[in-house]
């Protein structure tokens, strides 16, 4: 067993639908050491989201079944942990930054309401004593950390009153509420324009570095991989096909699939060279 903060060891996941079984993950292994920035890249359907859900314990079983493997967090196997212990980690020690700022916030509650609710139940799971006013103060604090100029106004707002970039920052703030050690970011900012996305990624990177968090960035965007990670896992058809330091991977991709992924990035000079990447089923 490695010393990584998060370690996925030979994870296999099956999905059963209409009597058929699909092997969606096949012996996936990856390590996220403390304070590291790791990327998990692959096209849609490659299994990166299922990997993320398995780590977070969000897979619906059925239809999913964990066919084999282990997931260690801080030396403890999450898959054999009692539900209660597992819940103590979800949203607290390990936390997710969601992808779509337009749909990941509940439209009918204020930001403050949603964030204090998350905090309330995190406190309860961790047996932390804190009253409503302290929780709201904590909400204002994390909103300031994601560089909101007027955190109190943002907290009072409904999602519809905020821009896409602000909502994405709220989603980051939500993930930071309980001071996690591991952030799992599911393609944050994909739904935003390129400039705003770049700002969001910069903010995320700064926060992760300043607070000494580990970051697992899940994305299909190689530009994001290059900017936000030092080590990268490439997934295709439910398997990790290549994993190396980011700089090395871009300098000399080894696998044909990786080469095809890199070649498929549109270029400003025109003449996009769509690679011959084999499309996952």
């Amino acid at each position: 067993m490695s010393q990584a903060l998060l370690s996925v060891d030979n994870l296999s996941v099956d999905f059963s639908t209409y009597g058929q079984t699909h092997h969606v993950l096949k012996n996936v292994s990856l390590d996220v050491p403390a304070r590291s920035q790791i990327a998990l890249v692959g096209e849609s359907g490659s299994g990166k989201t299922v990997t993320m859900k398995a780590i977070m314990g969000l897979l619906r079983q059925p239809p999913a079944t964990i066919a084999g493997g282990r997931i260690f967090y801080d030396g403890r196997d999450l898959l054999t942990l009692p539900d209660k212990e597992r819940l103590k980690l979800r949203g607290t020690a390990m936390s997710m930054v969601f992808q779509d700022p337009m749909s990941s916030l509940n439209p009918v509650f204020t930001i403050a309401d949603q964030m204090t609710t998350i905090l309330k139940y995190a406190d309860r799971r961790l047996d932390r004593q804190r009253n409503g006013r302290d929780r709201l103060a904590r909400v204002h604090e994390v909103l300031t950390q994601v560089r909101m100029r007027d955190p109190e106004r943002v907290a009072r707002s409904y999602p519809i009153m905020l821009s896409g970039g602000m909502r994405q920052r709220v989603l980051i703030a939500m993930a930071l509420l309980s001071e996690p050690k591991l952030l799992i970011a599911d393609e944050p900012g994909t739904a935003l324009d390129v400039t705003t996305q770049a700002q969001i990624l910069k903010l995320l990177k700064d926060l992760v570095e300043a607070r000494g968090l580990a970051l697992l960035m899940i994305t299909h965007n190689l530009g994001v991989v290059r900017e936000t990670s030092s080590y990268v896992y490439v997934m295709n058809k439910g398997q990790v096909v290549e994993h190396r330091p980011t700089a090395e991977l871009f300098a000399a991709p080894r696998e044909d699939y990786t080469k095809a992924l890199i070649a498929a990035v549109p270029r400003l000079t025109g003449g996009t060279r769509f690679g011959t990447a084999e499309v996952a089923p």
Partner: protein, 341 residues
């Protein structure tokens, strides 16, 4: 502040609708073929008698003046006199409206109190046995005609089991006049007569179940589909990932965004039942306005018909105003978007 602006805008719209409604009702009453005076007096009346009544009713005046009088009367709460028995229409409607309102109010409360939880349960256990049970039950309720259910309940609870009264609003032996609001249960409470409240509820139960079934089925179905729709939203998955317990997710994060469709259905049903409750009112001898309205139509009592239609229309507008405000309260997007538009 933002909510106040939303409210004012809604009220102004409702006033506009009411003005339009009064014009339409007035126009229809004047356009329908046949002379109301002739219809009231019957074929044996002489031409002078008819002309006298026309003058009496103001039917010989210019149409604009007639409308002016109609509106002036409305403003005073005067709906004219019945062409048949000379009684003021307004007082007839006041008495019967209170009875219908009490019945329909209780009906809607029943439909909502059972429909919403059934819908939530069905959505929570989607495609499992609670869902199947609710769906069959809701369809069954929605398609059973009110009069059939009314007769069935009357026979079962009244004549076979003898557990509930089947006609009227209170036992004839009970000496009580609902003269404050006209609602037996409310007036009973206000006068401190608990026996009246209990009896009133007993009498309300059967007719309101008969009326509520269809609405409850609708509300259960719409709540279910609305909840299922919301359950698949990203923000529900997000709250799960942040460790918000299921109870809170279902009853807070899912129920509130799902609440607008059932609320809207409730408003529409509330308003339309006021006019459509007549079958049940007739079966249970409930002295309500829906049954009164049907009688006046059959007797071609023009002033009374206009009065009933006008009161139903005003009620419809008011209920929808109330529902709009509630929807704006439940869903901030409605009031914020309205402001921007």
């Amino acid at each position: 502040m933002e909510f106040l602006a939303f409210l004012v805008r809604r009220v102004l719209w409702s006033l506009l609708v009411l003005v339009g409604l009064s014009i339409v009702i007035f126009a229809i009453a004047r356009i329908v073929p046949g002379d109301p005076a002739r219809m009231a007096l019957g074929p044996t009346a002489t031409a002078e008698q008819v002309a006298d009544l026309r003058a009496d009713l103001g039917l010989d005046r210019p149409i604009v003046e007639q409308y002016g009088r109609f509106i002036a009367g409305l403003a005073r709460g005067d709906l004219g006199r019945s062409l048949l028995n000379e009684r003021p229409v307004a007082s007839d409607i006041r008495d019967t409206f209170a009875a219908t309102f009490e019945l329909v109010l209780f009906t809607i409360m029943l439909a909502f109190a059972f429909g919403v939880p059934l819908g939530v349960a069905a959505a929570r256990w989607k495609d499992r046995w609670p869902d199947n049970l609710v769906r069959v039950f809701a369809i069954f309720c929605a398609v059973t005609p009110g009069f059939f259910l009314a007769l069935l309940l009357q026979i079962l609870a009244g004549y076979v089991l003898h557990i509930l009264p089947t006609t009227g609003r209170l036992p004839p032996s009970m000496d009580f006049a609902a003269d404050i609001t006209g609602l037996v249960t409310i007036d009973g409470l206000l006068r401190g007569r608990l026996d009246v409240v209990l009896e009133g509820l007993r009498y309300l139960l059967l007719p309101s179940i008969a009326l509520a079934a269809a609405t409850m089925g609708q509300i259960a179905r719409i709540t279910r589909s609305s909840m299922i729709d919301v359950a698949s939203q990203d923000y529900i998955e997000a709250s799960r990932a942040f460790g918000v317990p299921e109870r809170v997710r279902v009853f807070k994060y899912m129920l509130r965004p799902s609440f607008v469709p059932p609320l809207t259905i409730m408003g529409l049903e509330f308003a339309s039942l006021i006019g459509n409750a007549f079958v049940v009112e007739l079966v249970f001898a409930w002295p309500g306005m829906a049954a009164y309205g049907i009688r006046t139509i059959l007797q071609k009592d023009l002033n009374a018909i206009m009065g009933v239609v006008m009161v139903s229309g005003v009620f419809f507008v008011l209920v929808n105003l109330l529902i709009d405000v509630l929807v704006g309260f439940v869903d901030p997007r409605v009031r914020i978007r309205g402001r921007r538009a």
